[in-house]
């Protein structure tokens, strides 16, 4: 097991290196002259030259790259121009909001998509199969930001069931004491059920929006994979042996069908982390996505670079996790690799 994890870690190194090189290149490809940009429009040529030296932009590219890696190791992603705060600190305080939203969405998506896909495969051609096809097509075709707005209109404006789409908590509540940064968990730790309900109420719409989007590939893959397994010989034998259909489907078929679904999770994470940005904007969610958007609009590039870097490293890490999970589910993978 440990050996497997170590192997996967080494396999992730080129990915991380690639991410670092690309973000470095992006940060040096800023429009125009970065020194002139940081100096402001009224700067004299002399001031620009001073800033260029201060930023180390007059030195060769590889020296700058080594400095860049040094900064990264020290956790220094630069300062935001608009707030003056270190980017790293802002990202760390905002990350729990994004993580809570994305993880809840993923859990909801898996809980809905997997049973839906299994049922659609078992009862092929029934209404549930058609339902799953409609849901997956809609999930692929609907822009996330549009789904979010539709949900806000229906559940907030028309029905009044959901709170206004303005962040993680209604202004009447104060956030729970910081333990994990996840309001759902922290409010439970503080034994404040009212707060838990309030936080959940804020989360439901953005999480459902993301979930609809993530549902589609998962349900589609579950269905296809179940169909393939159900038509294989050992299922026929299990059925012929007189096993209950429940045992055949859940114990025999599903366990074998789950591997391709886990593989799809990698792609789903790529979608989710991107869609997260759009959903955060729609629901004024104070996560790292809206931080990046605010900075983009203000032409404040350090936070954007930090954001891209954080997201990419998170994604590499999640893929690593999927690989390990894969090894746990299917022991054969560990032996070959």
């Amino acid at each position: 097991m440990l050996q497997l994890i170590a192997q996967r870690l080494t396999a992730a190194v080129p990915g991380v290196l690639g991410v670092i090189v690309v973000t470095f290149l992006l940060s040096r490809a800023l429009p125009g002259d970065p020194a002139a940009y940081f100096a402001g429009p009224a700067a004299t040529p002399q001031a620009i030259e001073e800033i260029r030296q201060k930023l180390g932009l007059d030195r060769p590219m590889w020296e700058q790259f080594i400095d860049y890696i040094g900064d990264l190791v020290r956790g220094d992603l630069g300062n935001s121009l608009t707030t003056g705060q270190p980017v790293m600190q802002e990202l760390v305080t905002r990350l729990p909001a994004s993580a809570e939203l994305t993880l809840l969405a993923l859990v909801v998506a898996v809980l809905v998509a997997v049973p839906l896909g299994v049922l659609a495969a078992v009862k092929q051609g029934s209404w549930i199969d058609h339902l799953s096809r409609v849901v997956t097509t809609a999930g692929v075709s609907l822009p996330t930001f549009f789904t979010g707005l539709l949900l806000v209109y229906v559940f907030y404006y028309k029905l009044g069931w959901a709170p206004p789409p303005l962040g993680r908590l209604d202004i009447y509540f104060s956030p729970p004491d910081h333990v994990t940064g996840f309001y759902l968990i922290d409010s439970l730790i503080a034994r404040d059920l009212e707060l838990f309900v309030a936080a959940l109420g804020q989360l439901i719409l953005p999480a459902s929006t993301l979930a609809v989007f993530a549902l589609a590939p998962l349900a589609r893959m579950t269905r296809a994979s179940m169909l393939a397994v159900l038509s294989s010989d050992f299922i026929r034998t299990a059925k012929a042996g007189g096993l209950r259909s429940h045992t055949v489907v859940v114990t025999y078929a599903f366990r074998n069908a789950v591997l391709p679904v886990v593989t799809t999770l990698g792609m789903v994470f790529s979608f989710l982390l991107g869609a997260n940005v759009l959903v955060e904007k729609v629901f004024s969610w104070p996560g790292i996505g809206s931080y990046a958007i605010e900075s983009l609009i203000a032409s404040d590039y350090a936070p954007v670079q930090g954001f891209v870097m954080t997201m990419a490293l998170l994604y590499v890490f999640l893929n690593l996790l999927i690989d390990v999970l894969y090894g746990v589910i299917d022991p054969r993978v560990g032996i070959d690799a």
Binding site: P14, T23, V140, F145, L150, P164, L273, L278, Y301
Partner: protein, 299 residues
Amino acid sequence: MTTVAAGLPADKPRRSTGTAAFLRHARYVIGENPVTAFSFGLFGLLVLAAVFGPALVPHDPLASNTARALEPPSAEFWFGTDQLGRDIFSRVVVATRLDMGIALASVVLAFLMGTLAGTAAGFYGGWTERIVSRIVDTIMAFPLFVLAMGIVAALGNTVTNIVLATAIINFPLYARVARAEANIRRNAGYVEAARLAGNSEPRVLLGHVLPNILPLMAVQCSLTMGYAILNAAGLSFIGLGVRPPDAEWGIMVAEGAAFIVSGEWWIALFPGLALMIAVFGFNLMGDGLRDLIDPRRRT
């Protein structure tokens, strides 16, 4: 039918002619699956709107009239008016050209880069393959939309860079398929024959391998077109690329977002629906084209 048959020599097999056989096959596949025909219809509609839209719309898409702002859909303004009193129907139709243009340009760019790099990688192997695979892996190491945001932020906030960013994140999809297909054909019989006939390697690659991969890549184009539209609209939704007052679906939804909470649903709904229909149409058409060109994978 009889007249055509009479014009042909009796012993000539009717199956042999390439184009006619393909058309017959196309008619069969489309007839078998009406959804494909429907998607071609949607595609035609989009092309019409993109080409003739600006000449056909009832109102000037940029003319504001604050006296008639935020009106719900009516006989005069089919989709209502926005916060500046502009006609939403006209704006949605006119925006087709920009949205399709961005998506098409980025897909063509990704297609050219990905097909060439991928075919070369699969055909030559060795260092070419290693370099291309490394580039593909590096791009895939990012969540794609986030990478697109980073690229646009770094290169500058313009429509051209939206096209470029969308092309770059689509590049791996083309390069992978092209590499796999070229790899299969690397030592196929007809490729060996072309070599023996004295063709140089680049000539074999461009003249014999590439043309056989192109149909599959065309399917890939249609399948990724929907994704390209969504991606470009997403970027302009967060304020990148297209600037107001230009009509574009993503930015129109963004403008309408502020009014959803006060009940003015039509501003965001109609451009959003247009986006959805376009993406849906291209996804369906991609599936249909795949059935047509690659019958083995028919679902």
